[in-house]
């Protein structure tokens, strides 16, 4: 025996991985020493008609038949398959299998790498990923639940007036934003609040809740929209909210077929009113809330007549950015003019759909709109 032949034999028998050869149906015809040492079988025990499938745990056996064997038949080589081998003493050995199918003679050759530590590490990674996915799902659910609390589940029914609200969170809705709106009955009529808390995330959400509930409670003591917004300003400063808020607040009082709308603006884009072919802003600019101890706010009173439509919105609408630049107020005026014949919910949907489409379906900021429409 030459030195080279002896070296080959020794290389096979004592290779640093298990070697195992089978017929195409898996019947084991040859194994090396390393494999016997890894698995604890005696020489001859594995080559007496046993198949490689019998060496595998049952789940892995199904995987072998449904994935491994077809792959091997189709591409003659399969790599890095993780399975458990059943040892002679009944314990399991995690291994990685590589295999090649040879045509002449028709045999399958397997390399068997013991992989106990690596598989344990991979299981750790898998568990970590599953934990991360669970946490992510919980965080998303939390964000959506919080967000839902910023807008009422339904707007009030008001005789002689259609009202509709629409909201679309930024991105895919994973990050809770600061847009909110609300509408409810008061002693004199109805109140409408719509606003935007600066920033996103949990801290912004806390301020958004504070703003919404302050605006709900304030009208009981405060007579006018500007006084309600001033009360919110005091609360934000007193609570050291640390974030500024823009808002529009209006009071609606029915009068025959008309409605009288008194509204005040605090750093917020003025609502648009469509009357006939004309679209115009209503309200007078006022200071943003949560920054200054004293704010300058003005109440403006307008009459809403049959056929009129009023659009309240947050800056996520006009500051939407797409391939054509900023969406802007001009586009919004045009859209309101074109859609003023629709019912209130049709107009609200049209605005949100157009602004979302303008940003290729993925808005960068929250979008909130409320539409009032007196049927003509």
């Amino acid at each position: 025996m030459s030195l080279a032949e002896e070296a080959f034999e020794d290389l096979y028998e004592h290779a640093p991985c298990g070697h195992l050869s089978t017929l195409p149906d898996g019947t084991i015809i040859r194994v090396n020493r390393t494999l016997l040492e890894l698995t604890g079988y005696e020489p001859g025990e594995l080559t007496g008609g046993m198949r490689i499938q019998n060496l595998l745990a049952v789940g892995d056996r199904i995987f072998y038949e449904t994935h491994f064997a077809p792959l091997l038949a189709m591409q003659s080589v399969v790599r890095e398959i993780a399975v458990d081998v059943r040892r002679a003493d009944g314990t399991r050995l995690p291994v990685l299998l590589n295999a090649v199918m040879r045509d002449d003679p028709r045999v399958i050759r397997f390399c068997v790498f013991a992989a106990t530590d690596r598989r344990e590490y991979e299981r750790e990674l898998l568990r970590a990923r599953q934990r991360a996915e669970r946490s992510e799902a919980e965080a998303r659910e939390l964000a959506r639940t919080l967000q839902r609390s910023f807008i009422p589940p339904a707007l009030p029914r008001i005789p002689g007036l259609q009202v509709a609200g629409a909201f679309r969170p930024a991105g895919d809705g994973d990050l809770v934003g600061g847009d909110f709106y609300d509408m409810y009955e008061t002693d004199a009529g109805w109140a409408l609040a719509l606003g935007d808390v600066c920033g996103k995330g949990v801290e912004a959400a806390v301020v958004t809740s504070l703003a919404r509930y302050t605006l709900r409670a304030a009208p009981i003591r405060e007579p006018s929209p500007s006084a309600v917004l001033s009360a919110l300003n005091r609360t934000l400063l007193h609570e050291r909210a640390g974030r500024f808020v823009t808002a529009v607040y209006g009071q609606l009082v029915p009068a025959d077929h008309h409605f009288r709308l008194t509204l005040s603006l605090a750093g917020h884009p003025p609502p648009l009113r469509a009357r006939g072919d004309a679209v115009g802003e209503i309200g007078r600019p006022g200071n943003v809330l949560g920054l200054l101890p004293k704010v300058r706010l003005t109440d403006v009173e307008v009459e809403l007549a049959p056929g009129d439509a009023v659009l309240f919105y947050t800056d996520g609408v006009i500051e939407a950015r797409g391939g054509e630049g900023l969406y802007g107020e001009a586009r919004l005026r045009h859209l309101l003019s074109a859609s003023r014949g629709m019912e209130a919910d049709g107009i609200a949907d049209a605005v949100v759909n157009e602004v979302v489409a303008f940003q290729s379906g993925l808005p960068r900021d929250d979008i909130a709109v409320v539409v009032l429409k007196i049927p003509g």
Binding site: I62, E65, T66, P70, I81, R119, L126
Partner: protein
């Protein structure tokens, strides 16, 4: 999304021939038929496809609700039949597809003229005196095995696999590609397959049926093949010399001649 793209439908063979639909089982895709289907091209109109969630199907069409039972997969088959306006088709189903074909034939008998079931099992888990070959714990183990063997699936590869090849250089390196899909979908398909119980449907199969049973098949043992044969009225059973679960790959000649003899 058209059904043709959604299910990666491939049509070959004789355009005016009797339709012959080949359906893959759990694990891989229509490539499972590459050694068998060509033998029927001279006479039949061959229809190959991937179920949604397998092979080159449109993964975005996968919905856990629709595919929560084998009926959802049967709907894929019926959608394809409707799209191609098939009638009197020969349906050749491997593994779980044998039962999917049976369910489709029960729902729309006029579409099918013959059913070839390769390694069928109406229920994989033992139940009192019925021997399916597996316990529920075995199936849990399979799900773990699928978790450890993502077959090269990773978030970096997903865009390539889902048909958005911004990185064509990856395309040539796709190993294990015939049997790879999103591991989450694979696990759901495994659960639906191995938890199914369609024993009660067997007696309702309305078409001529052939059962091809391998010797030594750990997925569908001989007793299960005999059970299917005894419960489908008028069915034929052929015990093959081929071993394992995939005679369509390991013994294509024997598979082809058994199907030809039946037809």
């Amino acid at each position: 999304m058209s059904v043709m793209v959604r299910n990666n439908v491939r049509i070959t063979g004789r355009p005016d021939g009797r339709p012959m639909v080949f359906a893959h089982g759990f694990g891989c895709d229509q490539n499972m038929w590459r050694l068998v289907a060509p033998a029927f091209e001279d006479e039949y109109r061959i229809v190959l496809f991937d179920y949604v969630g397998s092979g080159d199907s449109d993964l975005s069409a996968y919905s856990p609700e629709r595919y929560s039972s084998l009926q959802g997969y049967a709907q894929d088959v019926l959608d394809i039949c409707a799209e191609l306006d098939l009638s009197d088709a020969v349906f050749v189903g491997h593994s779980v597809s044998a039962m999917i074909g049976a369910l489709a034939a029960i729902r729309e008998p006029a579409r099918f003229g013959a059913l070839v079931m390769v390694g069928p099992s109406p229920r994989y888990i033992d139940d009192e005196s019925y021997v399916g070959g597996f316990s529920a714990a075995d199936i849990e183990e399979l799900l773990e095995s699928l978790d450890s063997n993502y077959l090269g699936w990773s978030s970096a590869m997903a865009p390539v696999i889902m048909g958005n090849p911004d990185r064509p250089e990856l395309g040539t390196e796709l190993t294990n590609s015939f049997c790879r899909t999103d591991p989450d979908i694979a696990k759901r398909f495994a659960t639906v397959t191995f938890m199914s119980d369609n024993r009660a449907d067997l007696s309702r199969v309305p078409v001529r049926s052939l059962i091809l049973q391998c010797s030594d098949d750990v997925i569908a043992p001989v007793e299960v093949g005999k059970y299917v044969h005894e419960n489908i009225p008028g069915s034929e059973l052929v015990l093959m010399r081929a071993t394992g679960h995939c005679p369509n790959l390991s013994a294509p000649e024997e598979t082809i001649s058994a199907i030809k003899a039946f037809l």
